[in-house]
């Protein structure tokens, strides 16, 4: 496997990891606030807190890892995207900052606050919306280079139907992923009421998720026909994604094997996300950067790969320890410890 493929694969895995863990977190924030508005907060908030408290810091790291990694492996992306994304990136950053700090303030500060809860819920919807513009921009047409100058066509982004379908998909996906995971977690905690409530959310958001996915394909076929044609060539990958979706919904509907149900949700997104990424290649930014043209020098590239492997050797056992202590420890989940 060539260096550029290893690099992009590593980065894509991290972005996928971020999408899963961040979705759970973003969705949880929204459900917390929604259940407060509908006076149901006593049912599900305990479960949500129990899960989020020890892991919130870890979520951000996935994103930072992706950003630092892409600058390291493909330095040209810093130049193009850095110039273009000042506004959406800056806004996403401000929202992430508000969200992270206020979560800690509410959680460790010892007092519940409606305002914190509101911020936590709302930022969870706006952050993915602004971050998803990064993927939209990568399809080309929104960044133009004239000479040494990079211009970002913000107006065009706002008027593009494709851009809005991506935002729509991002928002419904987090709600769907989050509800599916939390249903599993509540079931494991033996909290029947919370499980039933979250299961309803999960089923409710499953339909819009598939609808949004279809819309994104439709949008892509108009916005970037080359990419769409490549995606069509590997349509079996997206078919697998759809099959996983059906299994997940079926299990959820029948109240069976919530763990497996969530696993198939993860697979559904894995197939779709890697299918999307694979068909996006070789471009990192249509038509300016490909993984070959943007690649860092070989020495640095291999140094990063080695650092990455060494890092994983350290991190994977630590993550397993974290999960063993909090995620899969029945006593902790059931609040006996």
């Amino acid at each position: 496997m060539s260096l550029e493929l290893i690099g992009i694969t590593v980065l894509w895995i991290f972005l996928y990891g971020y999408i899963i863990v961040a979705s759970i977190d973003f969705g949880a924030g929204f459900f917390s606030y929604y259940s407060y508005l509908t006076k149901k907060e006593h049912i599900i908030n305990k479960i949500i807190d129990r899960y989020l408290s020890p892991v919130w810091e870890v979520t951000n790291v996935f994103l930072i890892f992706f950003i630092v990694g892409i600058v390291g492996f493909f330095p040209d992306t810093a130049y193009y995207y850095g110039t273009a994304l000042l506004i959406p990136g800056g806004i996403a950053l401000i929202l992430l900052t508000i969200r992270g700090s206020f979560y800690a303030f509410a959680n460790y500060g010892g007092r519940e606050s409606k305002f914190f809860l509101f911020l936590y819920g709302m930022t969870g919807l706006f952050i993915p919306a602004s971050l998803s513009t990064g993927l939209t921009i990568s399809e080309g047409g929104f960044i133009v280079q004239s000479g040494e100058q990079i211009h970002f066509l913000a107006g065009k982004l706002f008027q593009s139907p494709y851009s809005w379908t991506v935002v729509f998909l991002a928002i419904v996906s987090i709600l769907y992923i989050s509800a599916s995971f939390l249903t599993y977690y509540a079931n494991k905690a033996g909290d029947r009421l919370a499980m039933e409530q979250l299961r309803k959310y999960s089923l409710f958001w499953s339909g819009p998720t598939i609808l949004a996915s279809v819309l994104v394909f439709w949008g892509l076929s108009h916005h970037n026909p080359i990419h769409f044609a490549k995606a069509w060539d590997i349509r079996w990958v997206f078919a697998c994604s759809f099959v996983c979706f059906l299994i997940a919904v079926l299990l959820m509907w029948k109240r069976k094997l919530f763990g497996l149900s969530f696993l198939t949700v993860m697979l559904q997104f894995a197939f779709a996300f890697f299918g999307y990424g694979y068909s996006h290649l070789p471009y990192l930014l249509y038509p300016y950067i490909t993984i070959q043209s943007g690649l860092t020098n070989t020495t640095m590239g291999w140094a990063l790969v080695i650092a990455f492997i060494a890092g994983l050797v350290l991190l994977i056992p630590s993550l397993i320890l974290l999960m063993w202590l909090f995620l899969f420890n029945a006593k902790y989940v059931k609040n006996e410890k």
Binding site: P75, I94, F105, M300
Partner: protein, 443 residues
């Protein structure tokens, strides 16, 4: 005002704000771990409570450190795309490693916070503080190597077309500035954290809290701080020799050393005439600069006459440097005085005047840290990477940086206010005495 100006403003503001929380994040775990260890060792619940109370405050500061760290991490690419393009090619390895170190720290911090009562053997819980220390300190180390690289770039060559070639990632990380800078940053992070905790303990004793808990906290922090003072000042001395060799322009600007000479004097305080470069009201210590810079009273120190004038750093950094050094010696004095009064049988280390001195030391140590950072960064001007890239060439060409500056200013203001309010509320009405009493009832 152009984009470059506002990019600088936003970066300066973000870093100035971030380093406060980052230093606490790097330093406080040392003290938490130390207190918990002593608590287990001596079976003294006071120290255990100390570790718990410090941790409770610490998580709030860590949260601000994490989010502002995320900000600067991403803002670098957004504000300095050309700089990051070069960084990506040459010095992205430590940035990448820093993420791992932070990841490691974050995982174990989560474990540390939520497992106080989960292990039968208390040492097991204490052990989880070690990865937190390693992770946070390594984060500081890796990030500082990137800053060192900006001061003394190494590990690559520029070919005739200006393209980077012959890259050596490890060589770039271990550039000449790395040893002195890393040592100075790490030890001063520990130091300011020590003074912060000592200042709090002193404050409570002065407010009339009689419990032995506060005296124990003060002792632990002040003794550790004394050792750290010595280490930090020693690191500062190594930095001076390093500057003389590798960044003579910075040293000359700090010292208003205009003419290359042997046996150069050290200029303390004073006032500079910006036109004639005449220094007034200064204390000049003969040959001291040569001794500091070269270890020899007759050593040659390069002056600003050897540097083209358009490459001079701003000369006001002398004032920043003098203030910083004055504070550093004040901190050493306070820590030494406490230690002396504690060892001397007739001394009273809890004398109110000394306590006021310790309270003053806490904010002053942070001022010194900020000043040190500012003079080091300003002293590199006009370069963003010494000799390779100037600040003006590196900035984004995007519009709206000014708008972002104001948005982020508002954000940091809100964060600072809310974080401080939350911290105050967290400990309001919850004295250590009361917590100890409630422990006893439970057991």
């Amino acid at each position: 005002m152009d984009s470059a100006f506002w990019s600088r403003m936003l970066t300066e503001e973000t870093l100035a704000f971030h380093i406060i929380w980052a230093a606490i994040g790097v330093g406080v775990p040392i003290f938490i771990s130390l207190a918990e260890f002593i608590g287990i060792r001596k079976k003294d619940p006071h120290y255990t409570l100390m570790a718990k109370r410090w941790t409770r405050g610490f998580v709030i500061t860590v949260a601000v450190g994490v989010v502002t760290g995320t900000c600067i991490g991403v803002l670098l690419s957004l504000l300095w795309p050309t700089f990051m393009q070069l960084v990506g090619n040459v010095i992205s390895l430590p940035l990448f490693l820093e993420t791992f170190a932070f990841f490691f720290e974050a995982i174990f911090l989560g474990i540390y916070l939520y497992t106080w009562d989960r292990f039968k053997n208390p040492y097991l819980h204490w052990l989880t503080s070690i990865p937190v220390i390693i992770g946070s300190t390594l984060s500081a180390v890796f990030i500082t190597t990137v800053n060192s690289f900006m001061n003394t770039p190494a590990g690559f060559k520029l070919d005739k077309a200006g393209k980077v070639v012959d890259i050596d990632p490890i060589g770039a990380m271990l550039n000449p500035a790395t040893p002195s800078k890393v040592g100075h940053v790490v030890s001063s992070s520990y130091l300011v954290s020590g003074f912060l905790l000592a200042g709090l303990a002193a404050f409570f004793i002065l407010r009339g809290r009689k419990h032995i808990y506060y005296k124990k906290a003060l002792k632990l922090t002040m003794i550790t701080t004394f050792i750290l003072c010595i280490a930090t000042i020693a690191m500062g001395d190594i930095s001076a020799k390093f500057l003389a060799k590798h960044q003579p322009a910075k040293l000359a600007a700090i010292e208003w050393h205009f003419e290359t000479s042997k046996g150069a004097p050290l200029v303390l305080f004073g006032k500079l005439d910006p036109e004639t470069h005449e220094v007034k009201y200064a204390i000049k210590i003969p040959k001291a600069l040569s001794i500091l810079a070269t270890n020899s009273p007759d050593g040659t120190v390069i002056g600003l006459d050897k540097i083209p004038k358009h490459l001079w750093p701003p000369l006001y950094i002398h004032y920043l440097f003098d203030t910083k050094i004055s504070i550093a010696f004040y901190l050493l004095f306070i820590a030494a005085l406490f230690l002396f009064l504690w060892i001397w049988k007739k001394g009273n280390p809890f004398h109110p005047i000394l306590l006021y001195g310790i309270i003053a030391a806490a904010p002053l140590s942070f001022v010194a840290m900020e000043l040190g950072w500012i003079f080091s960064e300003v002293g590199r001007l006009p370069w963003i990477i010494t000799g390779i890239m100037k600040v003006g060439e590196a900035a984004t060409t995007a519009a709206n940086v000014k708008l972002m500056y104001f948005l982020f200013t508002g954000l940091y203001l809100v964060l600072a206010i809310v974080a401080v309010t939350v911290l105050l509320r967290l400990f309001k009405g919850k004295t250590a005495e009361a917590e100890l009493a409630s422990y006893k009832e439970v057991s």
